[in-house]
Amino acid sequence: MIRWGVLTVAICGQTAAAEVLLTPDEIDQTLSFGPWPPITQNDPSNRVSGNAAAIALGATLFHDTALSVDHRFACSSCHDPTYSFAAPVRRAMGREKLARNSPSLMNLAGLRWYGWGGKSDNLWAASLHPIIHPVEMAQTADSWRERLANSANAAPYEALFGPLESQTPQMVLVNTAKTLAAYQETLVTPKTAFDIFRDALERGDLKTAGTYPHSAQRGLQLFLTRGNCSFCHSGPRFSNNEFHDAGVAYFIDETTVDGGRYEGLRFLFSSPYTLAGDWSDDDAKSGAWAVRNVRQTHADFGAFRTPSLRGAAHTAPYMHDGSLPDFDAVVRHYNEINMERMHTDGEAVLAPLDLTEAEVSDLTGFLETLSLRE
């Protein structure tokens, strides 16, 4: 692949030299951000993953305020389809203000961890917790079974899972979450200007690749090189889906801190709803190695899951606490990163970048091309 890169640049040296600004090595790295969308398998831990009836029921329930004990919220109250299934507020508003920003629910199929602190290792568990969380939908397993049994959704539920009266409340809760997960697995961001560029490079179609704006190309170069961004924002989702301290303050208010991954792991280890547990439908327990073998370290405190950057133009504000209003603020955050906020053993890849104003705008422009603007 590297040799191929040399070749194309050599050819373009004679013809449209200025159009593709990347070096062969940068072209090679760029290819690693695709193809998009990735091929995902049905989730073996969820027996209704990919099932059309479950997806339909999950879609209905997702938008239904019946899921919350007092009909106050639907999932879509905080994960609004208009905002790419996020919410345009800094911290989510439940029964009280939550500690964190509502993340987008796009491109979640097949991840290793869910939530800013990775408190779930599968999508149905991440969909179950808000139903019973006291400051979110505040159901109990009992109150939800009762609610479901007396609703129009009982029939499609029973068609999928059998008679409600023969199921324990906890089983109904898990099955409900599995339909919500089946629905969310279908939420995928479309190809963008970046993908057209990337796919053209892969085909060796420099004419098409050359139509990708030069400023975005320069921004991509910064992303790959001086910015160090691709250390964590890697792969087709622009996320390694692991946990890092990106220098965002983790004080929720003057007296409370957000432990990030540290809290996520504590929750995970006490949860019955992991891939290693009995509620997984996968007899082989194929994804369970992660929860079984994940290592706890002191660097977990204040570390958060690297968010995907696909479709992120629609999901401001940014960071786990929604503290940064737009891409410009994010890029400036990295540019002027406050090393004193980092753990003493923090990520050695983060340091002030010394970007010029033009470079800040190139990098911001590149981030924009990872989303499709109408």
Partner: protein
């Protein structure tokens, strides 16, 4: 260029590959007298789990084998503890390795044979 590549390949065949079946790369031992050990690696994917095979060339009873990996440049290691299965005859299967950032990773292997402990390393570059 092609000639250079060939030369490297030949060199690799004579020095880096080892054990009778000629697969794997020789681990760098800390002590000169340490028994030869090799590691067999796949094309390592970034931020995804992969497996490796570690073999003590001349067998011998292995009391304990530990495998870890760090990124020397970033002061951190792996976020997962790999699972090691003794396959007998000095062979060990290592599962659940995850290199979650690109750059240089160093495998650290510790082999205990009775009272003797030998440490080995092997560096790879992940893209």
């Amino acid at each position: 260029m092609i000639k250079a590549v060939l030369a490297i390949a030949v060199l690799a065949a004579s020095s880096a590959l080892a054990c009778e079946d000629n697969i794997g790369v020789v681990l760098t031992a800390q002590k000169q007298a340490a028994p030869e050990a090799v590691i067999v690696l796949p094309d390592i994917p970034l931020a995804q789990p992969f497996s490796a095979r570690i073999k003590l060339c001349h067998g011998g009873f292995v009391t304990k084998l530990n495998v870890d990996a760090i990124m020397p440049a970033h002061q951190h290691g792996m976020n997962y503890v790999p699972t090691i299965t003794d396959l007998g005859a000095g062979n060990h299967q290592v599962d659940g390795l995850v290199f979650h950032m690109p750059g240089i990773w160093e495998f650290q292997v510790e082999v205990t044979q009775g009272a003797e402990v030998n440490r080995y390393t092997h560096s790879v570059t992940i893209r």
